[in-house]
Symmetry: C2
Subunit: 286 residues, 2 copies
């Protein structure tokens, strides 16, 4: 539990990083480590220990779905380039059984996708019962790059915030625990990470000239994110803004949010829906 005595945290990310009324993105220090008293070294050990906890809870969560529990989790990951989405997928999500995970990377929409409402391509990828769904980028692109690059008329962008809230309310009503994460990277740290990708030939494949074009629009993206937080951080689908200059902090924070979500379900091993003694007898005779 977030309230357990042995917590790593002075204040849990679920509390300290949650976007509430009056939240101001510009006030967040991207190099900070809110609520975590440790350093990189302790964070590595804490992440490994947390991975075991997460893994055990995820198995129990999945087990319940096999006996009819409809609950599911959706983690939405949004960030500027190099902020560390890939590392979250690899080092946090990668710790649990891949059978229990559904990752969808939303790229630039295809012409076919663009011919439909922006939520059309999203809906087929919402998680199944017992699954942890992860959106690597998401429907929020349509109010982020959509706004910054004016890919749709202003009135349409406006409409989308409400459409998103309605969509997410629908998911919440369908027993989805929604966790929306923005990895908040500083401009200097982004520059260093892009530089590294350019300096190391084995990292070139991760670089795209468009990354610099986007970087030049960072102030506009931050404005667009602020609007997203103002308009779409709801009790059913809250945003968490995670300072991301320190990768170890961001990973630990996302892991904590997921563990909290699972603990909040008060899971136990599902009870057999068959007659155990009868089946033992059948097995013995087989």
């Amino acid at each position: 539990m977030g309230h357990a005595a042995e917590s790593l945290w002075d204040v849990e990310p679920g509390e300290s990083l949650r976007v509430g009324p009056g939240f101001v993105l510009a006030d967040v220090d991207t190099g900070s480590t809110p609520g975590y008293p440790g350093d990189k070294k302790s964070a590595v050990a804490d992440l490994a220990a947390g991975a075991e906890v997460f893994d055990g809870l995820q198995e129990m969560f999945f087990a319940n779905s096999q006996l009819g529990d409809k609950r599911k989790i959706l983690l939405v990951l949004q960030a500027m380039d190099t902020a560390g989405k890939g590392g979250i997928l690899r080092h946090v999500i990668g710790a649990v059984d891949p059978q229990g995970v559904q990752i969808t990377a939303f790229k630039k929409p295809t012409p076919d996708e663009l011919a439909h409402d922006f939520l059309w391509r999203i809906r087929p990828h919402v998680p199944d019962a017992g699954k942890i769904g992860v959106f690597d980028r998401s429907h929020y692109e349509d109010v982020l790059i959509g706004r910054v690059r004016e890919l749709a008329p202003a009135a349409e962008i406006e409409r989308r915030y409400d459409a998103i809230n309605a969509f997410e309310r629908e998911l919440a009503d369908d027993d989805t625990t929604i966790i929306k994460v923005m990895l908040h990277l500083g401009a200097d740290e982004q520059k260093a990470r892009l530089q590294e990708r350019l300096d190391r030939p084995e990292k070139h494949w991760k670089f795209n000239p468009g990354d610099i074009d986007e970087r030049l629009l960072m102030p506009q993206y931050r404005e667009a994110y602020q609007l997203v937080f103002d308009r779409t951080s709801t009790p059913d689908a809250p945003w968490y803004v995670i300072p991301a200059d320190k990768k170890w902090y961001a990973r630990l924070a996302v892991q904590s949010l997921l563990i909290d979500a699972l603990r909040g379900m008060n899971l136990s091993w599902p009870v057999a829906d068959f007659d155990v003694e009868h089946e033992k007898k059948r097995l013995a005779e087989s």
Copy 2:
């Protein structure tokens, strides 16, 4: 390489476990560990070491797809209940970046799926470029349970072997490396594993009374598998029969097949398709 001096194997699984002409399933000892001179203890260490190799190769494989390489891998997993498919997914596939993996579990077909040809529900799940696709059960169910339980007329079952070969040839022509694995479990070991699921309440969710019904048909399933091997082990899509009484052996063998497939691609880091110096300059100015 399979031929590297430091190989763990006396004979690589890619050779010793491959189904060729004249293969007889009944001759396989489910408790054996073909080609591996070590024991459980060394296998655990070898699996961990192999996981790093596999992880590194998978990243390079994925990287190439980002620059246009169309190759993909499809691992088909077939087995009787408790044979260890889940453990392969967790401990072998789980070692690589989840972003590079597409797992599909094929359950009992829905009415909608049954209203179409048996390959209809399979096709949408073939792996994308740069991905390792895993079928947890597959189109082979339609000639296994399909045959054993007479879910389709004999002539239709016959037709399916050819349809499968045509389908897999199409995938191979589309740059898919196909690896088909049957985890071959002994009847006694299956009994022990089912017993454990019944004895431990936290394992009850993995048990289904139907598992015993299927167990009673094991001889018929083995006949059906033999026919599958006779009819569908092709140069482009070979079967590998892996003795599975020892989980550690089966995992090491599947990992070896995947590593071999990746090594066989002669991968290197992709070369940038942009002007690196120009981008460095742009970044510096940004």
